[in-house]
Structures are given as structure tokens and as C-alpha cells.
């Protein structure tokens, strides 16, 4: 029994690794997919004393993303929390198509127009990642990040449902706005070679709001807005320089 306790203590403090720990500066890239979570609706006010219109979001597409990051990793020989990383990342999310219907005057019987527009996001984050435990070359980790996103809304279009008269489109225009962002996630690192770390990561992110530009003429004071959250899966590969 004493022998088992000793082995356990040894495993907490120091592991016998099949591969060396990765540390130092690295650069990496990621590919993945993100499933946006957007607001339920956007409210567009009408003329004085008229009820507002509801732009009810019904669908948003899951999209691919690309990310680059670079940072520095501190390593130890401990099994628990064997490494910590600070990094900066840039993420490009391919445009998501948001679809919905316009409910005029907030009345269900007047849900008359289909609309869609695209939201494209670029996010800059400072990341902290901590590997929690090392088992052979596999290390679960958690990560948090904070920064900002540039959210671009564009390509608004709409058309009338059957039996409904087309109207002049509001023509909400393209606009890019910056929003504070954060992520929180977890995953697994796998030491593939003495220089390469491969990671599989899930994170939940908040990326602020996406606004269209104001519409034309009668919609000059109005715009569509939605919060942007997402669930994201990333597959990353980091190359450590000088290991």
C-alpha cells in the first residue's frame, strides 16, 4: 500500500513522458466550423404611432473558419498543468447567411416577407490556455480569450411571400462594427512530434453585435441588429520554434 501511494505522489509531481514537452514560441493555424447563435428578432420602428415591424430570424448557416495564432508556451515535467500558453489569435469566419421573415406591425397575420443577409466576422483575441493533465502525449486543456471582433453585415435582400405584394426593399446597407469579444473553451492537445502540437478544441464565444447600415429613404433611421454568439469546433496545428 505504501508503494502505491508513493507511485501516486510521483505521478503528481513528475511523469515519465514518451515525448518531450513543447515549449517556447510557436505559430499555428486552425480550421473549423462555427454555429452562430443570434438574436431571436430585430425590431424596426415604423412611422409615428404605427406598431413596429419584427424581423424574426429563423435560420443562420453554420460556417467554416480559419484562424492564425502565435504565442508562447511554458512547460514543466509535471503531469498536472504541464504547460501554459499565452497567445494572440486572428480568426476569419466565412459569411453566415441569416434568414428570417418580416412580421409587419408585429402582427402574425402580416408575416409577409422573407429576408436574408450575410454576417461575416473577424476576431482578434488574446488567449490563455492551460493544459490540465498530461497522459502520454495527450493533454486536456481549457482556454479563455478576450479581444474584439469586426462584424460585417451586408447583402440584405428580401422578397414577398405568395399572395403578398412586393414592397420597396429597405435596402439595409453594409456596415462593419467592432465589438468586444470573448471565448471560453476546452479541448485536447496532442504532441505529434517534437515541434508540432495538434489540438482539437470546442469553445463558446460572444462576439458582440452585428449591425446593418441604415436603410434607404423610409428606413433611413432604422437598421437590423443581432447579437453574435457561437459554438465552435477547431482543429489546430502549432509549430514550436526552436524545440
Amino acid at each position: 500500500m505504501k508503494k502505491l501511494i508513493l507511485l501516486a505522489l510521483l505521478s503528481v509531481s513528475q511523469c515519465g513522458f514518451a515525448a518531450p514537452s513543447l515549449y517556447g514560441w510557436y505559430v499555428g493555424g486552425s480550421v473549423g466550423g462555427t454555429s452562430p447563435i443570434i438574436s431571436h428578432q430585430s425590431v424596426v420602428r415604423n412611422d409615428l404611432d404605427w406598431p413596429s415591424d419584427q424581423y424574426r430570424y429563423h435560420d443562420v448557416s453554420t460556417n467554416a473558419l480559419l484562424a492564425l495564432q502565435s504565442g508562447y508556451t511554458w512547460s514543466s515535467c509535471h503531469c498536472w498543468f504541464p504547460s501554459y500558453t499565452l497567445a494572440a489569435s486572428y480568426t476569419y469566419v466565412f459569411p453566415s447567411e441569416i434568414k428570417g421573415r418580416v412580421r409587419q406591425f408585429s402582427l402574425p397575420e402580416f408575416e409577409n416577407y422573407r429576408f436574408r443577409y450575410n454576417v461575416q466576422r473577424q476576431t482578434f483575441l488574446a488567449l490563455f490556455k492551460a493544459d490540465i493533465y498530461r497522459w502520454c502525449n495527450l493533454m486536456p486543456f481549457f482556454t479563455v480569450g478576450a479581444g474584439f471582433s469586426l462584424n460585417r453585415s451586408e447583402n440584405y435582400a428580401e422578397h414577398a411571400l405568395d399572395n403578398v405584394t412586393p414592397r420597396l426593399s429597405p435596402r439595409f446597407g453594409r456596415k462593419t462594427n467592432a465589438s468586444a469579444s470573448y471565448i471560453i473553451g476546452a479541448g485536447f492537445d496532442f504532441i505529434a512530434t517534437r515541434n508540432v502540437l495538434v489540438s482539437l478544441e470546442y469553445h463558446y464565444g460572444y462576439f458582440g453585435h452585428a449591425h446593418t447600415r441604415s436603410g434607404d429613404e423610409d428606413f433611413a433611421q432604422q437598421k437590423l441588429a443581432t447579437k453574435l454568439n457561437s459554438n465552435t469546433i477547431l482543429l489546430s496545428a502549432n509549430y514550436y520554434i526552436g524545440c
Binding site: 443570434i38 404605427w50 435560420d59 421573415r101 402580416f110 409577409n112 405584394t165 454568439n229
Partner: protein, 591 residues
Amino acid sequence: MRLQMTGLGLLTLFMNTAIAATDPLSWSVTGSFPARTSVGNSYLVVYTFTSHLPFTMPTSLTATVQTTGNDFTITNECHGQKLSPGKSCNISIGLNPKSLGNKTVAVTVKYSNTTIAPPVLTTTTLATSLDSNWVGLIGVNYSPNHYASGNQFNNHDVFYTGTANGNGVSNTYMEMSQLKAAGFTAVRSYQTVEYAWIDIINSANALGLKVIYEAVIPQNGSNADITNAVSVLNNVISAVGASVFSSTVTLVFAGHENYSNTDISYLTSAVSQLQSALSSNGVGSIPVGSALVSGDLVTPGSPSDMQALINSYSASAPLGFDPYPFQWGVMPPDQAVSNMTLINSIAWDYAKVQAQSFYVSPRPILMAETGWATSGTGQFAGYYCYSNGGCFPSVANAATYLTALYKYVKTTSNNSGVLVFEAYDEPAKDPGNPTDAENFYGVFDTNCNLKNNNTNLLPNTSFSTTSNLGCQGYVNGALFTVVGTQPGAVTNQPPFIVQVTQTNPTTNLSASYTVTTPNQNRTNQNVYPWPQFLAFNNTSITITGVTSGASCSTTATVTNQVISFGAMSCTNPSYPVNCSGTVCYLPFNNF
């Protein structure tokens, strides 16, 4: 609130199938502009916008109509409206092309922030050759028996009244002379016998006026009526001669306002038989048509009947109808003519007729009757206006209406002609109701006075009321006739001369005349009756036998239209003329 999109999609699908989309402001359209339009046609499109909102619009509609070209008439009843639930408004767009080329109309209506735009209408106007015989024609409806009920003049349409160009002339000549001076170029008469037609046609021929002849084809009549009408027509042509008839009569109507949904075969037969009668008399080039109440063409109950009737018309006959905006209460009077977007206006009627399946462009449309009562009520004739917003009779309104009407007809692109109803008031139409508006459609009153001396009632606004007196003062006179008495006088009465020397007490102008009455076959008194003469008080009358050379003279007094003859003085006692009552009897012995 945030929703995961994956779950919401199904929910939304369910909701979409449960609730049908509905326009808060729906629209519909009646009429259309065909891809190819033509000068001479009118086209009417009416957009109706209906609110399906559950509340009254908080702000007004902004409705606009943009067009290319100036050929459109637009009435926008939607702009500025706040429609309450279920209520509608109209935007009416009329097109009367005057220029060739492409034309477009774009309607937009904005409610709240929403602007809807029905599809843009486009058309191309092509050139058309219009029938100058009818386009621009301004004639008048003329009834010689236009006097008060009971007046003896109504019992005989034709009587000698004066002299023109050295010849004794009749009342119809004097009245049509007045109508010609007023600017009318054609007259339509109706419900009259052969001798009156003969006199009207001969007088019109002498005056250079045209005549629209109307055969008596009563509604729901029989073939006997047609036979009788053909007989009358034959007699008239025979009397005036084919040459005068064909140069004066430009159209024959197979009756008037006589369509019913049970007599179409009878009507087409009447048209056909009248055409045959004209042909057999050598005047087959004169077209035969008919005139209908406006609704028969504007809103036909049986388009197929109209198609059949029009098919029976001569190719060069216009469509004839009787539009009366006055009776519908359409106001203001000028808009009642020209505003195509105003329901029951003349222009609206034309557009509606031209939109019918039986209408083939560029057939002209003749208003066989239209006018505006200057007085009276619509109560007795059951006018729509009487119980729906009021009728608006007045001389001023009539003048405004007719001025607009003349302008409308003179606009070639309207492809129209008109016979104004009517020349003279006819108080005998409804003597039991003296205030019936039917009695007050004349531009002249019953005594040939231009109403209010308002020359805007006439096509010729330079009309001289002092130089064109028509029948003025006639009602101060009385009629007498001269009748042969010898055996067989209806066929063998030698010619005789009636010389009347007198002054019209109303006008203080000479009303003298000398008339030679030829030998005639007077077996049919409807064709050649014994002549009637107008005498004023203290008139001198001399009757001379052409064969005998003898003459008798007398004076007559007239009081309250009752004539009394004085003692007769004859040059030859063997040839006495005896006057008694209203008749002077010629000698029996070959006078």
C-alpha cells in the same frame, strides 16, 4: 432572448403553414392598358387599395402616380387617406392617347414605412385612321312638336310660317336655320310621320344640314312594326328623292333605346330590313345602326346580344348610345364630360365601352343623346341622382357641361360625335308633372329663346340671339289649313297659291309668305297632307287657283290661338273659297 436556430427552424415552418400571409394593404385592378393602344381609343384602369389592418391607419397614405406623356387622366382618391379597417380607396387612371409611342404608368402607395408598387403599366400607341364622318360631329336632337301640352302645333309637325330666300318656308326650316346658326351641323328627329320627315329632310338639304333618320322600331315590337317602319322609310325616300335623301341623311337608326334581353333577333331583323329598304331605293350606302341606353354598352347584361346587334349594323355605322352624366348626378359638369376617372362621366363611358369584347377599334361612338336639364326634378323620371346625392339642373351647369362636351368631341383622339339632347324644351313630355326635368333639356326653350341668352350652351358661342329667331312668337298665332273639295281632290286638286301677309307680333318682323301647293296624290295623308299655315292676328290671306286664276282674300284674327276668318272677297264668284273654323275649303270646280 436567444434561440438556437436549429430548433427554431421547425417551429417557424409550423407557424408559416398555420398563418397565411396577408397584405396589410391589398390592391386589385380593373381594366388594363393593352400592349398596343391606338389614338381614338380610351382606356381605363382602376386600382383599388383595401386596408386589412385591424386599426385605422395612424398616418395618411402617400399615393403617387408617375406617367410618361400627357395623355393620362388621373384621379387619386387614396393620397392623404387614413383607411379604417376594411375600407378601400381608388386610384383611377385613364389613357386617351393623342401622341404615338411608348407610355408608362407607375403607381406607388406608402403606408407607414412600407411602399408597395403594383407592376408598371406599359403600352405603345400606334396610329389609327378615324372616321371623319362621325368624329367631331356636333348635331342636335330636334323634335318639331316641342310646344306645351295641348298646343295645336304639337298636332301637326309642319306648317308654313314665313319666307326665306324668296320662298315660303315651314317651321322646321326656321327652327333648323336657328340650329344651324347655333353651330349644329346635323339633326336627329324621332317619332314623326312621313310628311314631317319629308319636310325636315328637304329643309335640312336646303340649309346644308345633315339628318340622322330614326325609324320607329319600338322595344319588344313585332315584325309588323318593322314592316311599317320600312313603309315609312320608302315613302320618305320616294317623296324627297333618292338623291336628296342620300346627300342629306347620313345614318338611319333602327329605333332608339329599344334593346331588351328578349328582342335581339327582332332588332337585328329590323336593322337588316332597313338596310334592304335603303338598298332597294338606291341609297344602300347610308349606314344603319341603332342607339341604346348607355348601360347596354357600358355595362352590358348580355355582351353576346350587343355583339349580335353590332354585327348587324352597317360597317360604317357608329355605335350609338345615350350617356347622361346629369342623371347620375356626376359633378362638376365639365368633369362629367372629360374626366375619364369619374364614374359615369362621358369619358368614363367611352373607356368602358371600348373595353368591351364587342368593341372593335377604331369604330366611332356616337352619343345619340346627351344633355343636361336646366330645371326641374329627377323625381318623376326616376333619375339615380334624385335619390343619390341630388341632381344639379341649371342653365349654368348645362352650359358648362355642353362647352366641355363640344371640346371633347372636337378632340379627334376621343373618336366621338354627339347629338345634343335637345334643341327645344318639350314640356309636353310629362305634362302631368310640369317640374319633371325631362321637360327641360332644351338649349332653347319651347319658344325658341336661347336660355338665359347663354351662348355657351351652343357650339357657336358667337350665335346672334337677335338674328336667329326660330319659332319665336309662333305661339301667338294659329294654324289653318286649305283643303280641296272637288271629287277626287286627294289626287286631282289643281295647284293653288296661298299668300299670307302679316307681322309676327312678338318679333315685329314680317311673317309673310307665299306658298304654291302643287297637285299631289294625297291618298296617304301621312305623306302629303293638306298644307297647314300659320296666321297671326290681323293677317291677310289670299288663296289663288293656278288653273282658274281666280282668287279669294280675307283677313283673319287670332286670339288665344283661335283663328276667325273675316268676310271672303273673291275675284270670280264661280270659284268661292270658304273658310270656317280652321279650314279654308277650295272650290269644287277645278280651281
